[in-house]
């Protein structure tokens, strides 16, 4: 998912992944353990939230291409 996200990501996906990984590791958080803290209901809710936000960001970026605007 993260890898095939899109080509117009400002930072390469790998860089973000390493960074996030590192920050979690430094704070003694193991993703494998954390997974068990989340109930299925929460998982579903968070999933919807992220997908909503993704759509919103996509829409926002779409608007950028629609009109000719001068970026400052």
């Amino acid at each position: 998912m993260a890898e095939n996200q899109s080509k117009n990501d400002p930072i390469p996906g790998k860089v973000v992944k390493v960074m996030v990984d590192e920050i979690l590791r430094k704070n003694n958080v193991k993703p494998e353990q954390v997974k068990n803290n989340i109930s299925n209901e929460q998982r579903q809710m968070l999933k919807e939230m992220v997908e909503d936000l993704k759509t919103q960001v996509d829409q926002f970026n779409q608007g950028e291409k629609d009109t000719t605007k001068t970026d400052k």
């Binding site: 990501d9 930072i11 973000v16 960074m19 954390v34 803290n37 998982r43 992220v50 605007k69 400052k72």
Partner: protein, 130 residues
């Protein structure tokens, strides 16, 4: 290289302003013109999207990590790396013009939104939500 005169004293006022991480200020003057359309929706939308994404990252961490102090520390560290700390001020002056449309857009925030989304997606993939 900045040379500092040893006799100068630097004073800093007590009344420092505290803004949110990122601020985007727009000033638009329209003078002696008619039929001018100003559209700053983009900037407004971008700002609220940015806030939503920050909130979402914090929320995911909060749900996933039981210790609230720990999740706060992690989100703080994430934002430190991935949030550009920048203040933008745009000033637009329109004079003696007829029938023009002006749209404003804050490029820095637009990039920041992309980055925050990337972090959010990476995070949820990592903890198996997406």
């Amino acid at each position: 290289m900045i040379e500092v005169d040893p006799d100068t004293s630097v004073s800093q006022g007590a009344d420092q302003y505290s803004f949110m991480d990122q601020e985007s200020a727009e000033m638009i003057w329209v003078k002696e013109s008619c039929n001018i359309r100003v559209d700053s929706r983009d900037t407004q939308v971008a700002l609220s999207l940015q806030a939503s994404l920050q909130l979402a990252v914090a929320l995911v961490l909060n749900v996933a990590i039981a210790d609230s102090g720990q999740s706060k520390a992690i989100s703080q560290e994430l934002f430190q790396h991935f949030n550009s700390d920048q203040i933008n001020k745009q000033k637009i002056y329109i004079y003696n013009t007829k029938d023009a449309t002006v749209s404003t857009r804050d490029t820095d925030i637009a990039v920041n939104i992309q980055v925050l989304l990337q972090v959010l997606v990476t995070l949820v993939v990592m903890i198996d939500i997406l």
